[in-house]
Symmetry: C2
Subunit: 362 residues, 2 copies
């Protein structure tokens, strides 16, 4: 069988649903706006490719001025290395003989490859794999309040940095953090304290990498950072509107959906289930907004159905066969469900790009 990907030139009204589609002009504007923000403030910008996983979108980000790309997983980095990207940061602890062997092969072909570590076990794995003739650059990941990975104190960051710096095959590259729930002040305080400790030991700390799309326009509030990483900003989504990082007019991704059932006066069912939107709530009480149906709520998802409560819907109610545009809670996970992504401009499909790194969780 041939999957029904639309050809360029197809009107959006003929694109099969459910289908995420990307507005070319909004995408381009989002890339420029974020890059300008960083450039103006003297911050290096390193887009996270997890949001789109598409080579040409990353190329546009680099062409706009990004220093390189951020990958979350080794296999993502391999796809982007194959695509010619020469500055790749993998923000992950890479563990185990098989992955370390792949990491060594990747380091041999990517001019500027950096990884991170937040434990002695991770550093020791790197140290046992890499030698001085082809060293690996390692950042120490710091938990500045987000409560995920990362060393817990500046003192622990120093200890891990020393362990990296004394390994013949490793280079200490600096510090990395994911944003604090406590805000920029907490990130800045951690970085300043760790940098002072490192300086006290004569350790250079060239990179201080901060991150997150929801904090993108607060990046300048962390003056100790040298670079910022962000992914979601490129498409934007409902969570980014909530964060105040964009307006509805900046949403580059919509999921086209069709009303497939109207069982009751207040219920509609769309064909965009959790295999199109994912079940990611990201703190919302429901599963996205429907542009054409203000007040309607996507109250539940099954795999191929979205149940919509119309009881508070303002305006004309939909009929079976109507097409709508869903604003997803979280674009990054939607991208990961589709083998290709459809782009459009002026109501017509402009291109269909392979989501090259889809499924790269290793």
């Amino acid at each position: 069988m041939t999957f029904p990907w639309p050809e360029p030139g197809t009107p959006l009204t003929d694109v099969p649903t459910p289908m995420p589609v990307i507005d070319e002009d909004r995408l381009a504007a989002n890339i420029v706006r974020a890059q300008d923000y960083m450039t103006t403030r003297g911050l290096a910008f390193r887009p996270h490719i997890k949001t789109h996983k598409i080579l040409s979108v990353a190329a546009a980000q680099v062409a706009a001025g990004a220093v390189g790309v951020n990958c979350q997983k080794l296999t993502e980095a391999e796809v982007f290395a194959d695509g010619g990207f020469d500055d790749i940061l993998i923000t992950y602890n890479i563990l185990g003989a098989a992955k370390l062997a792949r990491l060594a092969a990747l380091n041999a072909r990517v001019p500027r490859l950096t990884v991170c570590a937040d434990s002695e076990m991770t550093v020791d794995g790197y140290a046992a794999t890499f030698a001085a003739d082809a060293p690996l650059t390692v950042l120490v990941e710091c938990d500045t309040g987000a409560g995920r990975c990362g060393v817990q104190t500046p003192e622990a960051a120093l200890a891990l940095a020393l362990r990296i710096a004394t390994a013949p095959g490793l280079r200490f590259g600096g510090l990395l953090t994911y944003p604090a729930t406590g805000g920029a002040a907490q990130v800045e305080a951690f970085l300043q304290s760790a940098m002072a400790l490192l300086a006290g030991q004569g350790l250079d700390c060239p990179v201080r990498s901060n991150g997150g799309s929801p904090d993108l326009q607060k990046a300048h509030l962390v003056p100790s950072a040298t670079e910022h990483r962000a992914g979601t900003y490129v498409y934007n989504d409902r969570s980014m509107v909530r964060a105040g990082e964009c307006g509805w007019q900046d949403l580059a991704m919509h999921v086209l959906a069709t009303v497939v059932s109207r069982p009751t006066p207040t219920r509609a069912v769309l064909d965009s289930g959790s295999k199109a939107l994912t079940a990611d709530l990201l703190g919302f009480p429901d599963h996205g907004e429907i542009e054409e149906l203000p007040g309607a709520r996507i109250v539940s998802l099954s795999e191929e159905h979205a149940v919509v409560d119309l009881s508070a819907c303002a305006g004309p109610l939909p009929v079976v066969g109507d097409r709508v545009r869903v604003i997803p809670n979280h674009t990054c996970v939607v991208s990961n469900l589709f083998d290709r992504m459809v782009f459009h401009r002026g109501g017509l499909v402009s291109r269909v790009e392979p989501v090259a790194a889809r499924g790269t969780v290793w």
Copy 2:
């Protein structure tokens, strides 16, 4: 790049993580147990392929005695028609000229193809597409309490059945429902009432198709049903244990994961994020169980990380690099994230199968 799919014979301990893996013996036992249940009770069994999307697994289900397969979407059905399946039920309203044209092509090559409808719009689309020389069989979908799709009353079922029966290119095939939250009695009452109305109009109603894995072992409580559809039972998951449909020893899918960080004494981080487990909670307060860590809770997922709270964990705490087995809340959505599925027996990989219908949401 080459994705790191393991070769047959690879020890499970060498399979890269995160990776869902399927226990061959449990899979085979699940297939036989459900089929035996249905056969014993005189019910036709029609497994839903959405759970696995793998041709050889569906072939095993049919070899065990299933009458055919159930697909949710047209493109799923196309993949399974390509795979040689000759009795396919698509439990979906199929709308729009492009999909109806594909449906006609599918109907021309699948000996027994059936679809469903719950609205006049849907029936009229079928009626305009199919002619008497190659008719389409249509079931009327009934909402017997689940609150998703389906006509709301037996009277509405009759009206739609008459609309189907009077269209030259359509055959009324019977009634279809997804299980009632109100239970078997509600399903049975709806079916009995609708069947009486249909009989009163002289309409034959050969198929009464009931469904759902969580209700699989209650299928006999709906005596008016002629067949049962179920998907999840083939792998089982945490939700099926909760439903009392299986025990922990019947879980055929685990997601292998690695502890990649131990930032604090009570926190571990796994490499199985929402791009491996999905964010489907299915009513649970957390994101799966960890076999090796009883009492541990997967409290949050980001795309490539699972944050685990160890504060109530009984037994030895994990260290960085440890491998664990996660029991997912919902197997069907995990399958849909991976291009291939790894099977194992006796601690070794037995085969790696393409998830042929992955991404078939149209």
